[in-house]
């Protein structure tokens, strides 16, 4: 049952990922097409900080981070678990992937929060 739940969550985050990744691409890679600004402008420090102060953007990026990491690391775990591992090694894989995910999520959340609360430029 636990594995079914984990798999279902892996599938359920797909629409969230598709929408948020699409928005991320539109903003950071296709800004000339969608926003009429150059890619360089979209990636300028000041512009990035200004965007990051937006509450909706802050929340969406945390959601994007969680959904992306969960979907990707669950897939990685599945591939690693297909290897001929002993039960002890399966636990190492599960714990390792979980810790990696939590560490990267913590870093991403910290940076997003830092941007959200940045005092730079007034």
């Amino acid at each position: 049952m636990r594995e079914t739940r984990l798999w279902s969550l892996h599938i359920l985050v797909i629409p969230i990922l598709a929408i948020l990744l699409g928005m991320h691409f539109a903003l950071m890679h296709y800004s000339p097409v969608f926003y009429g600004t150059s890619v360089e402008e979209a990636r300028e420090f000041g512009t990035m900080i200004e965007r990051g102060r937006n509450v909706a953007q802050f929340l969406l990026y945390i959601l994007f981070l969680a959904a992306g990491l969960y979907h990707g690391l669950y897939g990685l775990r599945g591939i690693l678990r297909e290897l001929p591992l002993t039960p002890a090694l399966v636990k190492v894989v599960d714990t390792g992937v979980l810790l990696l995910g939590l560490a990267i999520f913590a870093l991403g959340t910290y940076v997003t929060w830092w941007t959200f609360s940045a005092k730079i430029g007034g």
Binding site: F25, Y30, S38, R43, F45, I49, V111
Partner: protein
């Protein structure tokens, strides 16, 4: 049979080579391989991306240096490959979900030779989705290179 034995006891395991070839793999099998490889590439990139964008904490100058590096031609090519991987993974994922939910598989039939398998029945869908994938990768990529 001792079920507690680790799987390494079997000598018919092909390992990573088996991902690539084990005789008469279908087109869908190579899509499965592409899905895995693109997935691994994307998660590796996502982790590196989170680490590198944390560079903003070091200030405006450090950020500008990093962005100048990403604007260089080699990084634009890498960016395009990532875009292509993301598009392929997403489009193939749509195909997998449609099949998982039972669409485009046709109704079950008597197993009469020549056999009609569900893989063959959904193959037109596979071709359409892969054609769309190529179009998106081609046209989407052009705007990454030409502002």
């Amino acid at each position: 049979m001792d079920t507690n034995k680790p799987a390494t006891a079997y000598d018919n395991r092909l390992g990573l080579k088996g991902w690539m070839y084990a005789g008469r793999y279908s087109f869908e099998r190579y899509l499965y391989l592409g899905h895995r490889l693109s997935g691994l590439g994307l998660i590796a990139y996502m982790i590196l991306h989170i680490i590198e964008t944390a560079n903003r904490i070091r200030g405006e100058e450090a950020w500008a240096e990093l962005m100048a590096l990403f604007a260089s031609p080699p990084f634009r090519v890498i960016e395009y490959l990532l875009f292509a991987m993301a598009v392929f993974h997403a489009m193939n994922g749509v195909r997998l979900m449609l099949i998982e939910l039972g669409f485009f598989l046709g109704k079950p039939t008597e197993p009469v030779y020549p056999y009609s398998t569900s893989v063959l029945r959904h193959r037109p869908l596979t071709y359409v989705i892969m054609f769309l994938t190529i179009l998106v990768i081609f046209f989407g990529g052009s705007s990454l290179f030409f502002d």
